[in-house]
Subunit: 205 residues, 2 copies
DNA sequence: GTTAGCATGTAAGGAGTTACATGATTTT
DNA sequence: AAAATCATGTAACTCCTTACATGCTAAC
């Protein structure tokens, strides 16, 4: 029955509101701009999510700046949301989560979008996790392709070929990112702490 | 409450059973081999789907070959499914559907996997529909990127860049496929009819 | 003064996923 | 006869999508 417990949206909303307060409509545009090519949300997902985050006290309505700037007559105008202290904590928790969910397609994209707020060691774990996940996929597809060369017509083969190449391409991309991360913050001891950005998302192409 | 009305699974299952009868376990493996890198299903999706297709009379249990080859004592062994006449009709209907659903990520992949069973004119419409869809996406992402160059950190930018490149790559792939299709079957008049394969999924790289 | 776009929401439901439960068959 | 793996199934749940309903605000 609704409630939007977790999912990518929660992280995305908290992450965006961490930058600056915003109202829903604006949030949605920015959401689809940041997640860009690989994910899109509609209002039907966003507003229920905001409602739930509000209920949990992770976000709050911003007090309207000017003194009685339109005294909200029948209650229907822009509602600007901001992150609460609990919301910031929750965001940090989500950003520290480096489990399987962070290397599935959806989870990875959103986590990556907020790498700027993520600790270097977590970034590395997510990048490596994602890479293993993709390599598993490559293995199983390649295995399936060689198994008796299951009679496949040319279109199916072409689809497989293109799929494989896409995944291989992403693996190369991850390799570059990982190399670039190692350069900027080798994490010498068991260090853990500040999460200010330090990696520069390699222009290593 | 369940029922699996449409969705990609129905097409995929009917398409696979069109080649040859199979039981569920086998079907699932082949499913994940054909759809390979871009989609995977579990039993929790497949079996309810088979159940529903059975209910609709689109598939049927194959009569066990040998005479009373294990008289199915407590009913628990391999169940081989085959396509019925209605199932074949339904498959043809699905293969003729070239609407928005056929150029979204999921729908496109599955439709493409069965291009061998699809009429040439429909193939073309789907390829072109997919291409427009991706070009829309490119436009909106590029627009978002240039709009005041929304302050984005380096990771977000890197994500956008990689996303754009992936989509551009797919567009190029589609262009090659479309060119290759035009060569083999230019569809001279208002021709419509046979759906035997004739395109050869261009090795035009 | 009416179209167009900004802004907020809800109800119903689709399409799978997860976790579980269980039996049959082959391998060691 | 124990372990692995083949094989089938269900209940509960998740997360989002679609379609709808509404009102405000600026431009023409």
């Amino acid at each position: 029955m609704s409630s939007q417990r977790s999912g990518v949206l929660e992280l995305a909303v908290l992450g965006l509101l961490h930058e600056t307060p915003m109202h829903g409509y604006e949030l949605r545009k920015r959401l689809n701009s940041v997640l860009g090519a690989f994910r899109a949300f509609g209002y039907g997902s966003l507003y229920p999510c905001l409602k739930e985050l509000l209920r949990q006290g992770l976000i709050a309505e911003e007090a309207p700046a000017g003194p009685t700037a339109k005294p909200l007559a029948g209650r229907k105008s822009k509602i600007v949301y901001r992150l609460t202290a609990e919301g910031k904590e929750r965001l940090q928790d989500l950003l520290r989560e480096a489990g399987p969910a962070s290397w599935e397609d959806d989870g990875f994209g959103v986590h990556f979008a907020f790498f700027g707020l993520t600790r270097a060691d977590i970034r590395m774990r997510i990048l490596e996790g994602r890479r293993s996940r993709l390599e598993e996929r490559l293995d199983s597809v390649r295995a399936a392709m060689s198994r008796t060369r299951e009679r496949l017509d040319s279109y199916t083969l072409e689809l497989q070929r293109h799929g494989l190449e896409s995944v291989e391409r992403e693996v190369r991309w991850l390799n570059e990112l990982i190399a670039s991360e190692r350069q900027s913050g080798p994490e010498p001891g068991g260090r853990a702490g500040d999460h200010t950005q330090s990696g520069s998302a390699g222009t290593a192409g």
